[in-house]
C-alpha cells in the first residue's frame, strides 16, 4: 500500500511562484524515503500539503489511501512531523510541551507521562526536561521536536531537515535515532540537502528540483547509478600524454574529465557498463606508459549522481523550452491547417529526454 501517493501535485503561490510542478511521489509502507533537493526545491511545501496545512493548486494527494485535507485530523493522528528549525512556546518546558501535545492528541494523562519520559530519555533531554525551552540550543530544539513528533507513536514520520543546524555530534546522534526509529512498519520521509545523511539512513530516495520529482527509486539503484560513469585515477609519469589521449576513451567523445594535479576524474556520459569504461582506462594507462597510483570508482558517489540528475533535468528543461519555442514558430509560420487542425506541429523526440538519459 502507498502510504503517500501524489498525482500531479501542483502548488502555485499567488499566481507568481511555482513551488510544486506536477509532483508524482509514491512512498511505500516501511520505507525510509529521502527527499533530496536544493533549497527552494519544494520539499517543505510537499510536507505542508501532505499534512493538510496547505491546499494544492491542482492535483491530488492521498495519505494512507485517503485524500488529505485541512480537516483530516484522523489522518494526522497517524503522522508525526518535525518541521525545519522547530519553534516552541518559549516559556514552556519540554515536559509541559509534550504534555500539551499528548492532550491535543487525546492521550490519557498517565499514558502521556510514561510516553514523554521515555521519549525525553531517547532524545537525551532528561537533564533539561524542566528547563524553559528559551535557553535551548538548535540541537536540543530539534531533539525536542523529534520527541514531540513521536508522542503518538506514528505510522508515518515526516522529518524536514532533521540535521540542519546541528554540530557533527548532534548530527550523528540524530541519524542514529532515525535509524533506530525505522522498521517496525513505520514509514519515514526525510527531507534534506545533506546527501551523506540520506545515504546513511534511507532505503529509497527521491530527487526534487524546481518542484518536480526528477528521480525516485531505491537507494541501491542510486548508488549503482552513481558508480556508473565516474572513474578517478591518480597517475604518475607522462600525465600530459594521458590527458591528450583521454578523448579516445569514448568513440563519440561523450565524456568529461577534471584534473586535480595528478588525479583525473573521468565521467562517461554514455550508457555502457562501468567495467567496459574501466577496461578502456586501464588500456590507456598501459598505452601511455604512466604509472597507476590509485583508481577509484565510487568516491562522493551520491553527491555526483545527485548533481548529474539535476544537470540532466536542467538540460531537459532547456530542450523542452526550445521545443516549445520551435512549435510556436511553426504554428506562427504555417498558419491554420498547415500542420494539423490547430496549426501546431509536434517536435518529435525532445520530450523523450536526452538520448541515453531517458525521462523519469
Amino acid at each position: 500500500m502507498h502510504v503517500v501517493n501524489t498525482a500531479d501535485l501542483t502548488k502555485i503561490y499567488e499566481n507568481r511562484y511555482i513551488a510544486l510542478n506536477a509532483l508524482n511521489l509514491r512512498v511505500e509502507k516501511g520505507q525510509v524515503f529521502g527527499l533530496v533537493g536544493p533549497n527552494g526545491a519544494g520539499k517543505s511545501t510537499t510536507f505542508r500539503i501532505l499534512l493538510g496545512l496547505q491546499k494544492p493548486t491542482a492535483g491530488s494527494i492521498q495519505v494512507f489511501g485517503e485524500p488529505m485535507g485541512a480537516d483530516r485530523a484522523d489522518l494526522r493522528r497517524r503522522i508525526g512531523y518535525l518541521p525545519t528549525n522547530p519553534t516552541f512556546p518559549r516559556h514552556m518546558t519540554p515536559i509541559a510541551f509534550l504534555q500539551f501535545v499528548g492532550s491535543v492528541l487525546g492521550m490519557p494523562r498517565d499514558r502521556a507521562k510514561i510516553q514523554l519520559s521515555r521519549l525525553l530519555q531517547a532524545v537525551d533531554l532528561t537533564s533539561a526536561a524542566s528547563q524553559p525551552v528559551r535557553g535551548f540550543s538548535t540541537g536540543m530544539l530539534t531533539r525536542l521536536g523529534i520527541a514531540a513528533a513521536l508522542m503518538n507513536d506514528p505510522e508515518l514520520l515526516i522529518l524536514d531537515e532533521p540535521t540542519s543546524g546541528l554540530d557533527p555530534a548532534g548530527r550523528k546522534q540524530t541519524i542514529e535515532l532515525i535509524r533506530e526509529l525505522s522498521g517496525r512498519d513505520r514509514t519515514i520521509i526525510i527531507a534534506t540537502h545533506i546527501l551523506t545523511d540520506v545515504e546513511r539512513v534511507c532505503t529509497d530516495v527521491g530527487i526534487i528540483s524546481q518542484g518536480r520529482l526528477i528521480y525516485s527509486g531505491p537507494m541501491a539503484d542510486m548508488r549503482r547509478l552513481a558508480r556508473q560513469g565516474t572513474i578517478a585515477v591518480e597517475i604518475e609519469g607522462n600525465t600530459a600524454a594521458f590527458e591528450q589521449e583521454i578523448h579516445t576513451l569514448d568513440e563519440f567523445g561523450s565524456l568529461r574529465y577534471e584534473r586535480l594535479g595528478s588525479e583525473f576524474r573521468i565521467t562517461f556520459l554514455g550508457t555502457e557498463a562501468l567495467t567496459e569504461y574501466l577496461a578502456r582506462v586501464l588500456q590507456l594507462i598501459d598505452r601511455t606508459g604512466v604509472e597507476l597510483l590509485h583508481i577509484d570508482t565510487g568516491s562522493d558517489e551520491i553527491e555526483e549522481a545527485f548533481l548529474r540528475r539535476l544537470e540532466d533535468d536542467r538540460t531537459r528543461g532547456f530542450l523542452r523550452a526550445a521545443a516549445w519555442a520551435a512549435a510556436q514558430e511553426v504554428s506562427g509560420n504555417g498558419g491554420n491547417g498547415a500542420n494539423g487542425s490547430n496549426g501546431t506541429k509536434k517536435v518529435e523526440g525532445v520530450d523523450a529526454g536526452i538520448p541515453g538519459h531517458p525521462s523519469i
Binding site: R48, L51, L53, Q54, K55, A70, D71, A73, D74, R76, R77, I79, Y81, P83, P86, T87, F88, P89, H91, F100, V101, S103, V104, L105, G106, A148, N152
Partner: protein, 238 residues
Amino acid sequence: MQAFLAILRYDLGQLLRSWVTRIWVPMLAFPALFLVVVAANEGELASETVAAYINAVLMPLSALAVAVLTAGAIAGEAQIIADGILSRSVTRAEFVWAKIAARLGFALAVYLLIMLPFTYLIVRYASPDISYGGLAVGLFTGALLLTFLGALGLTLSTMMTNVLVSILALLLLVTVSGVVLQFLGLTWMSTTAVLRDMAPTIRGETPVWDTFRVVLVFAGLTLLAIFSTLTVFRARDL
C-alpha cells in the same frame, strides 16, 4: 473535544502570563477604586460615574488590550500554530473555536472582574439614580461592544500575517466606521453613540427598541465576524 480543551487551556495560560494582562487589569482597577472613593465622598450620581468610567477608562484601555490580544491571536503565533498544533490531530474549526473561546472569554472575564465589584460599590456608596434593569443592559452592552471588537480582531488576525498591521487595521476600522455610519445617517450603530448614551441607559431612560436594535446589530456583527474567522481560517494556507 480533547484538542479543543487542550488548546483552550494552553491559550488561557498564555493570556494569564501576557504582559498585556499585567498592565491592563491594574490600569482598570486603580481608577475604578479612585472613582468609588470620589463618588462616595462627593455624592456623585451613580449612573454618571459608571458611564464616565466606561467611556473614559474602561473602553479606551480595554479596546486597546482586546485589540492586541485578539488581532495578534493567530498572526502572532503563525509558525507555532502551524507546526506545533495544526500539524497534529486538530481540525481548524477546533482550533479557531478554542481561540475564540479563550480570547473572548478572557476579555469578558476581565470586564466582569472589574465591572461587577465597581458597579456594586458605586450603587452602594454614590447617589442612587440607577435602574437595576438599566444597569444590567448597560453592562451587557459594554460586554457586547468588547466581544464585537474581539471577534473582529480575530477575523483580522486570520487574514493578516503581521501583528502590528492587524492591530492598526482593527483600530482604524472601528474609528473609520464611526465616521462612515455618521455619513450614512446610521450614527446610532456606531460604538461612540452607544457609549455616549450609556448614562441614560443605566438610568433606564433609553427606549427598549433603541436598546434592542443596538444589541441586535452588534450581536449580528459579532456572529458575522466569528463566521468569517472560521471561513477564512479553514481556507487559509499555513
